[in-house]
């Protein structure tokens, strides 16, 4: 094999790169992220219900937040009425984080698990609410 060493090296590099996800996960049981709802505010709720049904929150929370930002900052509105007619203040800090006061265990655990780079925190200081577990 002409330049056989180089060809074998090439194949080895190819195989390492191509199977990299397998090598990296070797012997590792996949650990699911733990999303914690264990905050004082949530614990106090009689019915644990977010502003919209769970499925919608999972797939649409980014759109909701995005539209909240636009409506508050650009249109001066402050109130969101949900699918069952309940009003909420459109505020990440005052509404979302008042219950989900554990950013690391709630927001970040999923986002970093799935490698989603959010830019909420470049304006909002999500960490400040953490210490007393809520605004009250």
């Amino acid at each position: 094999m002409h330049k056989g060493t180089r060809i074998i090296a090439f194949i080895a590099v190819f195989l390492i790169i191509a199977t990299m996800p397998f090598l990296a996960n070797h012997g590792q049981a996949s650990a699911d992220p733990e999303v914690s709802l264990d905050t004082p505010a949530v614990n106090e709720m009689p019915v644990k219900q977010c502003i919209e049904p769970l499925q919608d929150m999972r797939s649409e929370h980014m759109q909701i937040l995005d539209s909240w930002r636009d409506r508050v900052v650009r249109e001066g509105q402050t109130t969101y009425v949900n699918s069952v007619g309940q009003p909420y203040e459109m505020s990440l800090d005052e509404t979302c984080l008042s219950c989900h006061s554990n950013r690391e265990q709630f927001c970040d655990s999923c986002h970093s698990y799935s490698g989603v780079d959010v830019y909420c925190w470049s304006c909002h200081d999500g960490a400040s609410n953490n210490s007393n577990g809520g605004v009250e």
Partner: protein, 330 residues
């Protein structure tokens, strides 16, 4: 026919995965069995093809020289276009693989009456380069689904790719560029009469398949809203050889995975192997130094020649008459 059939094939493949998961609940097949099978075919096939090429001899040094050779010390040598050393050849190969150097030379030839003129023609180079680099970024971005924790480099690539923060989820630039580049390459094949003439179904199929992969991926992100958590759990499961299925993840995901699987399985048996082949191309990966370093042909064999002795025997009298020196006076 040349275009219709590959198009039909890709649509049928997508439909197959959709129906199979939506109605027949064949998630195990499309989400576990086929991806593993495809990957196996890809790895084995790729290695097989490279080994097959590798086992063919390289009898001669046939570098295509595209610049001034190394000769006299005061003549400026073009080290990259006409390398005289392995280092130079590696440099040339890097230019070729990363920047498509040769394609960059492309010209357009036109004939007006008796005149032939040449114009710049960089679109193919640009389209090809944008496609390949976008594909690389897209592939690297996808590693976030296979690695836990996600390496900073990978999330960094994602952040840069989405740096314009358009919409939610953030629009990746490479989603646009890969789509545009593929559309261009496809349109070129269909619209340029000369290229359409020389194209085979085997040229349209991979293009359309790639378009299918890209479009299903984009739809999954922006329209069908596949749950990222479930996707990652599934991918980690596959990568750690502990597959876990998500029956609720939505069929769009399975369409995407299936088309990717087909692409991987098809890869080694098709022209897509140019990806591996370019590294072995003898006109590009050898230094042009065969006057300085003897290249060995492993199958060089002795041949029958017409020797001087025979020659002199045939022409001795004639040679003697004109006073040419002779080895034998005979």
């Amino acid at each position: 026919m040349k275009i219709g059939l590959p198009l039909l094939a890709v649509v049928a493949l997508a439909a197959l995965a959709w129906l199979g998961c939506e109605y027949l609940r064949l998630q195990v097949l499309f989400g576990v069995v086929l991806p593993y099978l495809a990957l196996l075919l890809f790895l084995v096939g790729f290695v097989y093809r490279v080994v097959l090429w590798g086992r063919s001899a390289v009898p001669f040094n046939i570098t295509t020289t595209c610049g001034q050779q190394k000769s006299l010390p005061w003549v400026k040598h073009d080290r990259l276009e006409n390398p005289s050393s392995t280092t130079g050849a590696i440099g040339r190969m890097i230019l070729e693989v990363l920047l498509f150097r040769s394609l960059f030379r492309n010209l357009r030839t036109e004939k007006r009456g008796a005149r032939i003129s040449f114009g710049s023609a960089k679109w193919l180079w640009l389209g090809g380069l944008v496609f390949h680099w976008s594909l690389l970024v897209v592939l690297l971005r996808h590693l976030r689904l296979f690695l836990e924790p996600v390496p900073v480099v990978i999330s960094g690539i994602g952040a840069v790719d989405g740096m314009f923060q358009i919409g939610v989820p953030v629009l990746f630039l490479t989603d646009i560029t890969i789509l545009a580049a593929l559309a261009f390459l496809f349109a070129r094949r269909v619209l340029a009469p000369r290229i359409r003439y020389l194209s085979l179904p085997a040229d349209y199929f991979p293009l359309l398949l790639l378009l299918g992969v890209v479009i299903s991926g984009i739809l999954m992100r922006y329209a069908f809203k596949v749950d990222m958590l479930q996707v990652k759990e599934m991918m980690l499961g596959l990568a750690s050889l502990h597959p876990q299925l998500s029956m609720s993840a939505g069929s769009a995901l399975y369409v995407h995975i299936f088309l990717v699987s087909v692409l991987f399985a098809y890869f080694p048996w098709s022209k897509l192997m140019h990806a591996g082949g370019i590294f072995l191309s003898p006109t590009r990966n050898m230094p042009n130094n065969s006057r300085q370093v003897r290249h060995i042909n492993p199958w060089n064999y002795p041949v029958q020649v017409h020797s001087y002795v025979e020659y002199e025997d045939e022409y001795r009298e004639k040679m003697r008459k004109v006073g040419l020196p002779l080895d034998k006076e005979g």
